[in-house]
Symmetry: C2
Subunit: 195 residues, 2 copies
């Protein structure tokens, strides 16, 4: 029996994905919120942990909701390389496209339970984009504060930079993302899952 820990933000989606996987006789699912997943993982010792990388709670992903022995499989959509980057940094070994045939999910779970990897072909190009992130970690730090509404002086104080340096970072971010202005840069980066 393959033990699966499924993590999703909302109760309804947890139940729905559980109903889907309950059809497979060799898979046993427990679904949890991001808050309760770590405790459950310690008790259940799952073989595979399945998380939806687009839900807001997935921003916690780099710190892993589960222990090291469990293979991490992420559910993802195309055109969001930033989300895939977080998943890769959390050492995900499986990447299932939410628009693939639903049978891919149990298939990928079985592969991963035997120590193999799985990447949907439709996500391969995004994984390449994720590997060559357009922004440096420092630029991402500036951008994520700006996206929360912080002004240049506030960002400067928060990151211990000069205001001019923050402005230079914002210009570099706008140029690298091909944006028309700061607001556009934030929109592009959010749509791609970078912030």
């Amino acid at each position: 029996m393959i033990r699966v820990l499924l993590v999703h933000d909302t109760e309804l989606m947890r139940s729905a994905l559980t109903a889907l996987l309950d059809r497979e006789e060799d898979i046993e699912v427990v679904a949890e919120s991001w808050e309760s997943a770590p405790d459950r993982a310690r008790a259940q010792r799952p073989h595979v942990c399945v998380v939806d990388v687009d839900c807001p709670g997935a921003s916690r992903l780099p710190s892993r909701p589960v222990d090291r022995d469990c293979a991490l499989l992420v559910l993802a959509t195309t055109a969001r390389p930033g989300s895939l980057r977080r998943a890769a940094e959390a050492k995900a070994l499986g990447f299932v496209d939410k628009d693939a045939q639903p049978l891919q999910l149990p298939r990928a779970i079985r592969l991963m339970a035997t120590g193999r990897r799985y990447v949907d072909g439709t996500l391969a190009l995004d994984l390449l984009r994720a590997a060559t992130a357009p922004l440096t970690p420092r630029e991402l730090g500036v951008l994520s504060l700006a996206a929360k509404g912080a002004s240049a002086p506030e960002i400067a104080r928060s990151l211990r930079l000069s205001i001019g340096t923050v402005r230079n970072y914002m210009c570099a971010i706008t140029r690298k993302t091909g944006a028309r202005n700061r607001i556009d840069a934030i929109r592009i980066s959010r749509d791609a899952g970078w912030v």
Copy 2:
């Protein structure tokens, strides 16, 4: 038999929600994308149409994916009154909280199939907020262009306003949303589902 048309952006979530509802003997589900839903609705004549109001495709909601005879039930999360507003404008009669017990969904479907309404108590306050939208339709128009990265002159041209008027709208929007600046106003409005 209650015929349900389920509309969601991704194949996996359509299949998962179908698996959940397939457990109910009196409910028959067909799941479709936003593109194919109108055709399917004409062929299937569903009693209830279930849509996830937080998925990107739901921005088409005011034009209704289905015909007038079908009761619209939306799956929603708290703290996004803008999404509920779109649902209300599309004449939704059912509002199910995605964090409620999953059995609420078939219960709500049954109520609506007999012509009744259903609102989860947890969404009631958000519906009140949705009814008293903080922004006017004109302000929402300005804001949604700004959120896409348009500059004040571009917004002015697009909406046939003077640049000064656009700036006045942006100031009103920032004040009404309690934001620190324009970027913050866009973030707050997006999180609430207004744009």
